[in-house]
């Protein structure tokens, strides 16, 4: 399996970033960056990364299943993550969550039929002072209101 030249360069750097004999340290970053490019951690990705690091596929899967940001099935093109933890709860995060379910017509960890959106209720994303907050892929949106949320989704829909 080959990746883009940028990702190959990244992998090459990662494998040099840890002490000799400690290449396994690169595992989680490699999985994260590969997922971003491929869309999910596919069996091929698992096999390839296991081979490059020199560990078994089982060892990769063992690690993979622990981390909530790593997934083996593709999410939507826009992965909408709504925080409902304490600071967001106090400032309307639950309303945003309800709004998101209605607007997108899908639930927690589900993908819309056209594959454009997926939704996840997440734990604190480190935006508590600007709550309620959501992330669309890696982008933060602060002080979200149901109106702002609708406008955001509409603008993303228009992009294609």
């Amino acid at each position: 399996m080959t990746f883009s030249p940028e990702l190959e360069a990244k992998f090459e750097k990662l494998l040099r970033s840890y002490p000799p004999g400690r290449q396994r340290s690169a595992l989680i970053p490699m999985l994260m960056f590969a997922q971003d490019e491929v869309g999910s951690v596919t069996p091929e990705v698992i096999a390839e990364i296991a081979a490059r690091i020199g560990i078994s596929e089982l060892q990769v899967r063992e690690v993979l299943s622990y981390y909530s940001m790593l997934h083996t099935k593709p999410m939507g093109k826009y992965h909408i993550q709504v925080c409902t933890n304490i600071s967001c709860l106090l400032t309307g995060g639950e309303e945003i969550w309800e709004q998101a379910r209605k607007k997108l017509g899908c639930g927690h960890k589900e993908v819309t039929a056209d594959g454009q959106f997926s939704l996840e209720e997440v734990e604190c994303i480190g935006a508590c002072s600007w709550a309620p907050a959501i992330q669309v892929n890696y982008d933060f949106h602060h002080n979200v209101t149901p109106e702002k949320f609708n406008a955001l989704i509409d603008s993303l829909r228009k992009l294609h």
Binding site: P19, R22, R24, I28, Y67, M69, S87, S129, W130
Partner: protein
């Protein structure tokens, strides 16, 4: 652009460069005293550096408040093994959003703090473990690191001092437990984030089983100011044994939520009323979580206190990570306790049974309670289950889940009683009305 307006009551030490044009660049950093502390430290002995940090009475900003200078002194300097500097940038304690700003606005301050720690313990490699959700900060830190290499502030023989230092970023992938120091080290080694048995502590056996200094982002960021202006000057900003300032993250029901740098020991009520502009909508204050969701809740009448580690501990809570969560009179405390427990049940790594099972039982109990199916006996049961988790786990996540729960039940017993016998949550109506 800043995320929130600064407050005139702030004392800006770590955040002094926030908001400067192009504050992320090494040029801005160098033009504003950047890397001067490194030059000064390079001419000091390791003992003198550690001593200066001890004098500053800097305490860890990640949660536990352990004295930083003392932690550094535990590293066996004559060990033949390589030593490592590890930055905890996992920032995932609910209510906490400050390390993000320190990296976003002033990445070189963090790099300089790591270098000085390296000088102090003879370490030449540093890793910044950044939570996966903060991808933009991984990119940003990578750019800052590249800039530092280009300008000779990282790499071999830095600025002719003979000191070598390399820094790498490392991304997490979504796990609160990986903020716990020993689980973080497991994750750094490419494994599941499960805590290690201690002792040995990371200072003796940390990253790659080598001596390691592991501190929070903000802790390292305080170090350049301490070396530059002296430990005594930093100490004088705070209260005894609680040196300096810290970035408090005000959130919840305040008029002006935001991250504010205030002296240690700043009064909590003043923070809410004068820095935060008071409780939203002119409502009454009901409760405050003073240091992130792991800390026992304080009732409004307990909030007239100095925000330093020791005073908050005397009030039987914790200063924690600096996340100050403010709750007004219409907040349902059962619901707040439930949401917090839902978090711990989700994030328990499953290694220790009291934590894995306890958090799930508590979540179920609280869920049933809030839904109106609670029974009288459930109220003490919630407290019982929580108390049986305390001190019975490898890492403090179990305690972090149990302690706030115990406080919610003890301090707001009447609210739990108000949910008994199938009664609907008394606050749902109020809040529905408020939203309409």
């Amino acid at each position: 652009m800043l995320y929130n307006e600064p407050s005139p009551l702030e004392v800006k030490v770590l955040s002094r460069r926030f908001g400067l044009p192009d504050s992320q660049s090494i040029n801005t950093y160098l033009a504003h005293e950047g890397y001067q502390a490194f030059r000064k430290a390079a001419a000091m002995t390791p003992d003198d550096i550690i001593n200066e940090v001890k004098i500053s009475s800097l305490r860890g900003r990640g949660g536990a408040g352990f004295p930083t200078g003392m932690k550094w002194s535990f590293v066996p300097r004559n060990s033949p093994k390589p030593k490592y500097i590890v930055v905890n940038a996992d920032e995932s304690e609910p209510g906490t959003c400050k390390d993000r700003l320190l990296m976003e606005y002033d990445p070189h301050q963090l790099i300089e703090g790591m270098m000085i720690a390296g000088l102090a313990v003879d370490a030449h490699t540093g890793y910044i473990y950044i939570r996966g959700e903060y991808r933009y900060l991984i990119n940003l830190m990578d750019r800052a690191i590249a800039e530092a290499y280009e300008r000779g502030y990282l790499g071999k023989n830095i600025q002719g001092t003979g000191f070598d230092f390399d820094v790498y970023t490392h991304t997490g992938a979504g796990a609160y437990e990986c903020g716990e120091e020993s689980a973080l080290l497991e994750s750094l080694e490419g494994k599941r984030g499960i805590p290690r048995i201690r002792p040995p502590f990371p200072a003796v056996s940390g990253a790659f089983q080598c001596p390691t200094v592991l501190n929070n982002v903000e802790t390292y960021c305080a170090v350049p100011a301490i070396i530059r202006d002296g430990g005594a000057a930093f100490a004088a900003l705070g209260t005894p044994k609680n040196g300096g300032t810290r970035l408090f993250c005000l959130s919840g029901h305040v008029n002006r939520p935001g991250v504010y740098e205030l002296p240690m020991g700043f009064n909590l009520l003043r923070m809410i009323n004068e820095v935060g502009g008071g409780v939203r909508g002119g409502k009454k204050l009901k409760a405050v979580i003073p240091g992130g969701s792991s800390c026992p809740v304080l009732k409004a009448e307990e909030c007239d206190l100095a925000m330093d580690f020791d005073t908050v501990a005397q009030a039987k809570s914790m200063l924690g990570s600096g996340g100050v969560v403010v709750m007004d009179e219409d907040t349902c405390m059962v619901k707040a306790a439930l949401r917090i427990m839902k978090f711990y049940a989700h994030e328990s790594c499953g290694w220790c049974i009291p934590c894995r099972e306890g958090t799930i039982w508590l979540r179920k109990l609280l869920d049933r309670f809030h839904a109106g199916f609670g029974q009288q006996g459930d109220i003490p049961l919630i407290g019982e289950v929580a108390k049986n988790m305390l001190g019975r786990t490898f890492c403090p996540l179990g305690d972090a889940a149990a302690m706030p729960t115990i406080s919610f039940v003890e301090k707001f017993y009447d609210e739990f009683e108000a949910h008994l016998d199938g009664k609907p949550c008394p606050y749902e109506e109020v809040n529905r009305f408020a939203l309409a």
